[in-house]
Amino acid sequence: MIHPKQKKAQTVSLDMLLGFFVFLIFIILTFKIWNVYTIRFQNNIDTQDKWNIALQISDLMVKQRGYPPSWELDPINTEVIGFAWNENNLSELKIQTFVGYSMVTEGYPTQQELDNYHTVKKLMNIERYNFWFRIIDFDKTVVDNLQSGIPYHEINSVTIRRLVLVDGKKSILEFSIY
């Protein structure tokens, strides 16, 4: 037979155990949520980095001639990339030179293509990312085969589109990094 005092003691420890488990679950949940937000914070930082870099590079492309100003005639010695005659008015020759150097055949790229692609990435100071560049018209058709880089298949990519004139023709410059 259980003594009344013993019964009371059992109830107290059961209550405490229950409380302890609820508390434990609460702590574990808090940690899980914390970790989720930490990962989101990191992803957010990474995405912001990409936006910033993509904006800077697209700005250079559409606002500047590059350095040296006629770099398209001697691409090996290019220091800064730029396609513009003046703001948003781009030279097709400069774009063609850039595309020629950074074009990567989808599926089976040659070593030369990959080496050139990496050189162009280094020139833009985006070695840790991949990029995809193209000039499209308003129907999203690529203009004069002006596209280069590696097409993206990632949801974490960032794409900047700028309205430009390419040798007088209205087009869209699209630059993505991922």
Partner: protein, 129 residues
């Protein structure tokens, strides 16, 4: 005897509660430190982006003359196109323009205070004012 048994139980419960309290407090302190570190990092990163964006836009526009206030030490490595902002921690960011100098060097430091950016002879010049 019976009274003694009750106080052992209470003591045990108190011990467990104290232990839990200490564990939770440690966790909260740790998380607080992480948040403070995150805030500091975000602030340094913002400065890094602001300087990098100004460098790029001065280069793109060629003529603009701009200034901003720095609250941290900044190191610019022109040829590497790298920027380091140093506070309690150090934050790094990059920019695509290789022609940056302080008029005399392409690797240089900027100290807290006002800094000026301008375009000169195919270079973006950045210096303390």
């Amino acid at each position: 005897m019976k009274k003694g048994q009750i106080s052992v139980e209470i003591l045990f419960s108190l011990g467990v509660v104290m232990l839990l309290f200490i564990i939770v407090m440690t966790m909260i302190t740790d998380r607080n430190e992480q948040i403070r570190k995150g805030e500091r990092y975000t602030e340094l990163r913002e400065t890094c982006f602001r300087v990098a964006n100004l460098l790029t836009s001065i280069w793109s526009s060629e003529t603009t003359n701009m200034s901003m206030r720095l609250y941290y030490n900044v190191t610019i490595e022109g040829p590497e196109r790298s920027l380091f902002v140093t506070g309690k921690e150090q934050v790094f960011c990059s920019y695509p323009v290789s022609r940056v100098s302080n008029q005399t060097n392409t690797v240089f430091n900027l100290t807290p205070g006002y800094i000026t950016f301008y375009y000169n002879n195919s270079y973006v010049v950045v210096r303390n004012t």
